[in-house]
């Protein structure tokens, strides 16, 4: 017998319609307040549904407030005239993507929390089945409740952000931007055919650049060297022997000078900078001291520019800066290197380095450069100061306003950006870099190309050269008030390139991709098109509508995907299998959401670096960036296919969800007829955990966690968050994780130290949290009738359960990983730290009222979710990194390691003794909360 009359009888009177409306309203209200799977949090928490939903809403509104603050900060930055329009544009893309990805994450998590409430379930049918409620009314109420919950979540998340961000995103300036599409691929271009390829590739760009439009005419020169062959292509007023300011490419020369002096034994890379400055310039710092190597890798902690240069970013702040100013600043600032110094690009640092090297050599920087590099390599046109003849070939520079700008004759900053050179000389310099064996200072060249530290992500830095492991290319760029430059070389594929232009990059933003295009052509990779497009932001009103349409579309898409997945699985699998697969699916979706969110990068960055990667087309958050731009009328051609995919994805996910609902409408009655039980299992033997009592409690805890879906999901939430943080740390820029000697996986790397600490911490906290969620309060009577007292054995059992469930697995996995990656001594030391840390956390978790895991009531409405959420985020981000930095400092010496391990061991022992003392039966009471008095009113059909 079916519990519902799926086909309605013919009574459609007004009364019947009124009854249906009342039924719909009652069911809609009931379903809406039960949309979050409250049983996942507590089996007896129905009373707190309103409080809990209120807290979820407040959490989302709180997020919205944070987004509003971000919007203000971003809008203020965009108004800065100095930020090139292209950077503004890519920043706008990054923010659009961030907002869409965050919306998708939040809605995805909402869909997971309401996993069991989105389709009519067994309980709905058992309760409503005997009542004269049509299946159609039930389904409509369910769908309406789900849609309302989705709408409310979107509205709460974007309550403030939905106004602030559309206004902010309408602020950036219109600009010419790279099309970020690819030209037809070619085999690796050689020097011999480079001119013809580039002439063809450059045609659209040259039309746009209109070099002649600049007062007096701008000039562009591109020089390449492949397998010993050279080719130089010129455009506009530039000639092969034209002299350009090469700006910060100068730093690679300074880095090479340092390497030469180090090879000759005149300096050591680890020498303190202080030793090379005039006596009494600066006192020895108390902490770490900046070394020559720190200066050459931008890790000295010195700021980008000194504060005694006059107006920031003006020509005079560079040209009127002399050695006396430099020493004045150093005297005030000092040369202490922060313990957590990270990559910080510093012109000042290279100015100090140049001064230090010149002082040691007893000469000036220009003379040092001439004696050690330009003369041996016969680079006669590479100079700091121009001769009269060279001045005739030196091109006029053009500023951001396309008007002529005076040349930068640098003094103290000469070693950071003062060199002038020609394409011919630069190719000579690059040939030496490609083939050190042909140069008179081979060892120094090799030394200057060794990786020393990290820049961001996996980008490495040698002595000034930045190395990208993804492409295998060393590169550096430069800019002065009127010049732009770029150079790169690839020792393995034996090619090098230099691009020089006598105009400011703000005037010619397309040049940012020209260097990349040349590199891609020489590598034989798909090359970014040089065809520029014009991009303008939407007006505020259109931006507002586009914002909301994109966010709603992204949210609906994500919600429908999760619903569709669940619905399809429910239809395809037998119910018993589905019940088992359901929890697994939830976990998978959860992990995909979290990891995907943290791994995604800005669309601009991805389109430049990974545009040809096939996975790019399958990242939905990029689709909806395209959709936003399409609706706002600012669609970039590179995102056009994504916009189409967004519409298709939205349609497909909606269709699948509708089909799943329709199918479940037809098969709803089967749920009642099928057993809602899992198949039998023969569990493996678990080891003993001490005495019989402790063993019983630990076994009970392990089985409860493994077999209870809601406990598994909540524990997975914590562990997943820990893994997400680990991924974040491992991919984090050095600005966040501090300096490191090697990669994220190298010995004592801060990312790996922080990751293991974070996962351990989150795992213990997660286990403690699920321990406080009861399985079934009514079944607790068995513990109450058992002959044991609260006390040490109870604390010991809880401690062992925590360690077995959270500390031991994380420790074992960390041990496998660290012993594989690191020398065993370092791995063992960190594992000991990790173990003590886990034990201390576990002791804090067993502190307080004595309870048996999974037997105590927990009322979620009473927890301040939004506060604890942000508290833990902050603690994890900053506390963990700080702990990792301290641990790394301690592990670098034997005494430090011993002291730290002794300290932690002592702390762990004190915690254990304290808990044992307070667990004495006379001072402790075993707690089992009473069942709620009105429990009889709840349905409790499960």
């Amino acid at each position: 017998m079916l519990p519902f009359r799926v086909k309605s009888p013919t009574s459609f009177g007004r009364e019947a319609i009124a009854v249906k409306r009342v039924q719909f309203r009652v069911l809609y209200r009931e379903f809406l307040f039960r949309i979050i799977d409250l049983e996942m949090l507590s089996k007896h928490a129905e009373r707190d549904s309103r409080t809990l939903l209120g807290q979820f809403a407040s959490l989302l509104i709180f997020c919205s407030v944070i987004l509003v603050l971000l919007a203000w900060a971003w809008a203020a930055n965009v108004k800065n005239e100095r930020v090139p329009p292209l950077i503004q544009l890519t920043d706008a893309w990054a923010m659009q993507h961030f907002l869409i990805a965050t919306t998708m994450l939040v809605i995805g998590l909402l869909a997971l929390l309401s996993w069991d409430s989105t389709f009519p379930d067994r309980r709905d049918l058992l309760v409503l089945g005997p009542l004269p409620v049509r299946a159609r009314t039930l389904f409509l109420a369910k769908i309406a409740a789900v849609a309302t919950a989705l709408g409310l979540a979107l509205a709460a998340l974007h309550a403030g952000a939905g106004i602030a961000w559309p206004l902010a995103l309408a602020q950036y300036h219109s600009t010419a931007a790279p099309a970020l599409v690819f030209d037809p691929p070619l085999p690796a271009v050689r020097a011999s055919n480079f001119a013809s390829v580039m002439n063809q590739d450059m045609t659209p760009m040259l039309c746009h650049l209109d070099l002649a439009a600049v007062d007096g005419g701008a000039g562009l020169v591109i020089g390449v060297s492949t397998h010993g062959q050279r080719r130089i292509v010129t455009y506009g007023t530039a000639k092969c022997d034209s002299l350009f300011e090469i700006g910060s490419i100068t730093k690679t020369f300074t880095g090479l000078l340092l390497a030469q002096m180090a090879v000759r034994g005149e300096v050591d890379l680890r020498d303190p900078v202080r030793d090379f400055l005039p006596p009494r310039t600066v006192a020895s710092p108390k902490g770490f001291e900046a070394t020559l190597l720190d200066l050459a890798t931008h890790h000295s902690g010195l700021p980008p520019m000194p504060d005694n240069t006059g107006p920031a970013n003006q020509r005079e702040s560079f040209t009127n800066y002399h050695a006396s100013d430099l020493y004045d600043f150093i005297q005030r600032h000092g040369l202490e290197k922060p313990s957590n110094a990270t990559f910080l690009y510093s012109n000042l640092g290279f100015a100090v380095l140049g001064a230090a090297l010149a002082n040691r050599a007893g000469t000036s920087y220009p003379a040092l450069l001439q004696r050690n590099i330009t003369e041996p390599l016969r680079m006669n046109d590479t100079v700091i100061a121009l001769s009269p003849e060279q001045r005739s070939r030196f091109l006029q520079g053009y500023g951001a306003d396309a008007r002529p700008t005076p040349a930068w004759d640098l003094d103290a900053f000469a070693s950071a950006g003062g060199i002038r050179s020609t394409a011919v000389d630069m190719l000579t310099y690059l040939k030496a870099q490609l083939h050190p064996e042909t140069a008179p200072f081979r060892a120094a060249l090799i030394e200057s190309q060794k990786f020393r530290d990290y820049v961001a992500g996996n980008m490495r830095i040698a002595l000034a050269w930045v190395y990208d492991p993804g492409t295998g290319v060393y590169a550096h760029d430069g800019a002065t008030g009127g010049f732009t430059s770029y150079t790169c070389f690839d020792p393995h594929r034996d090619f090098a390139a230099v691009v020089l232009l006598n105009a400011h990059p703000v005037k010619f933003p397309m040049l940012t991709v020209l260097g990349e295009h040349v590199r891609q052509r020489l590598s034989g990779e798909p090359a970014l098109s040089l065809t520029p497009i014009s991009v303008a932001p939407a007006g505020p009103i259109r931006s507002f509508f586009a914002y909301w349409i994109a966010m709603i579309a992204a949210g609906v898409f994500m919600f429908c995907c999760v619903l569709g997945l669940q619905g399809v699985a429910a239809q395809l699998l037998p119910r018993r299998w589905f019940l088992r697969a359901s929890a697994f699916l939830q976990l998978v979706v959860f992990c995909v959401l979290l990891i995907g969110y943290f791994l995604q990068r800005s669309p601009a960055s991805v389109l430049i670096n990974d545009a040809h990667k096939p996975w790019l087309a399958w990242v939905p958050s990029y689709w909806f960036v395209g959709l936003y731009q399409q609706v706002s009328g600012s669609l970039h051609p590179a995102l056009s296919p994504f916009a189409m995919r967004a519409w298709m994805g939205l349609f497909a996910s909606g269709l699948i969800t509708a089909a799943a609902y329709a199918a479940s409408y037809r098969t709803v009655s089967n749920i009642v007829e099928q057993p809602d039980i899992a198949p039998a299992f023969r569990s493996g033997r678990l080891p003993r955990f001490g005495g019989l009592f402790q063993t019983a409690i630990v076994h009970f805890s392990i089985r409860s966690l493994l077999r209870s879906r809601r406990h598994r999901i909540i524990f997975a939430f914590y562990v997943g968050a820990g893994l997400a943080f680990a991924i974040l740390f491992l991919n984090a820029p050095p600005e966040l994780t501090g300096p490191t000697e090697g990669g994220s996986w190298d010995p004592l790397s801060i990312p790996l130290l922080a990751s293991t600490i974070a996962v351990m911490g989150v795992s213990v906290i997660g286990a403690r949290k699920v321990f406080s969620l009861p399985l079934d309060l009514r079944a607790n009577w068995i513990f109450r009738t058992m002959p044991f007292r609260a006390g040490r054995q109870c604390v010991a059992a809880r401690r062992r359960a925590l360690i077995a469930i959270s500390v031991a697995p994380v420790w074992a996995i960390s041990a496998g990983l660290l012993l594989w990656l690191w020398p065993w001594r370092l791995a063992a030391a960190h594992l000991a730290v990790l173990l003590f840390f886990g034990i201390i956390l576990a002791e804090f978790s067993v502190d307080g009222v004595q309870r048996i895991p999974f037997t105590c009531s927990y009322l979620p409405g009473k927890s301040k979710i939004y506060l604890t959420f942000w508290l833990w985020i902050s603690l994890l981000l900053f506390g963990t990194i700080e702990a990792a930095l301290n641990e790394r400092d301690a592990l670098t010496s034997g005494a430090g390691t011993t002291a730290m391990l002794l300290g932690l061991g002592l702390a762990a022992a004190i915690c254990i003794l304290r808990n044992n003392r307070f667990a004495h039966p006379s001072r402790a009471e075993l707690r089992h909360e009473e069942m709620p008095a009105d429990q009889v009113l709840t349905l409790d059909l499960s």
């Binding site: 057993p675 039980i677 899992a678 039998a680 299992f681 023969r682 569990s683 005495g691 019989l692 009592f693 063993t695 019983a696 076994h699 009970f700 089985r703 409860s704 077999r707 209870s708 399985l775 079934d776 009514r778 079944a779 009577w781 068995i782 513990f783 109450r784 009738t785 058992m786 002959p787 044991f788 007292r789 008095a933």
Partner: protein
């Protein structure tokens, strides 16, 4: 002698008196039926005797000593089958019973054999690895019975032990209760099946509105109340309504 003695027991819940000045005794070698209508305080008394809840007044003595003096020792000697078969449904029957044995710190090897034997005798052996969530009400009741018997208790508190059992299991349990009493156990059991109580028990304590309204051997009760069956005795002492009249009223009301 390990007699159970309940003295002036009272229990209040939020001001309402659930058990009011209840006193009775149960002796080894005999089965004491504990009867009363719904809400008369039977299960509350059972829970107090099992040490699950504390009385508001009065005391419970077992073997002449207050159970509150050493509650842990009392729990070691007591087997309790609660009214509702609430069990941890995610465990299998075998796992649940093993956990109970471990919590009671029974010797593992001997207890494993005992659990295995009891599972066979109660026809649960083939389902011992299935999760309790898959058990029927009767199967859960059997798990409760095994858990209560595992440690060979001196005092057996059976609150509605026949609930959900099939006929064959009910017959076995009926015989078992008698057998255990013969072996010197104190057996206190409550049931709404008065026929069963009459067959199994030698004494009966009848509760009404939290108070003891009768406490005697079943034979004496029948004689005193000039009743042929225990059901007659019960209906005279503990049932206030005229069942026939009430049933007529209900039928009239739903038709109106």
């Amino acid at each position: 002698m390990n007699a159970l003695e309940v003295r002036k027991l009272a229990k209040r819940f939020l001001g309402a008196l659930a058990v009011d000045d209840v006193s009775f005794s149960a002796y080894p070698g005999e089965v004491t039926g504990y009867l009363g209508p719904n809400g008369s305080g039977k299960s509350t008394t059972m829970k107090i005797i099992a040490g699950l809840i504390e009385p508001s007044a009065g005391e419970v003595l077992f073997g002449g000593e207050s159970i509150r003096r050493d509650l842990i020792a009392h729990k070691r000697r007591t087997g309790y089958v609660p009214e509702e078969p609430h069990l941890y449904a995610h465990l299998s029957g075998l796992e649940y019973l093993t956990m109970v044995a471990q919590l009671r710190e029974l010797p593992p090897k001997r207890t494993a054999e005992r659990i295995d034997g009891l599972l066979r005798l109660f026809s649960l052996h083939s389902d011992r690895h299935a999760p309790i969530s898959a058990y029927s009400k009767g199967m859960r009741q059997k798990v409760l019975l095994i858990a209560a018997l595992l440690h060979d208790p001196d005092l057996l508190l059976l609150d509605e032990p026949f609930s959900g059992l099939d006929v064959s299991s009910a017959l076995i349990l009926r015989s078992l209760i008698g057998e255990l009493a013969l072996r010197g156990k104190v057996v206190l059991f409550s049931s709404h099946e008065l026929e069963t109580v009459e067959r199994v028990s030698s004494r009966a304590v009848i509760l009404h509105r939290g108070k003891v309204v009768a406490d005697d051997s079943i034979q004496n009760l029948r004689a005193l109340r000039s009743a042929s069956t225990l059901e007659d005795v019960f209906s005279r002492l503990a049932i206030e309504q005229d069942s026939a009249a009430v049933s007529r009223e209900i039928a009239d009301l739903i038709r109106a």
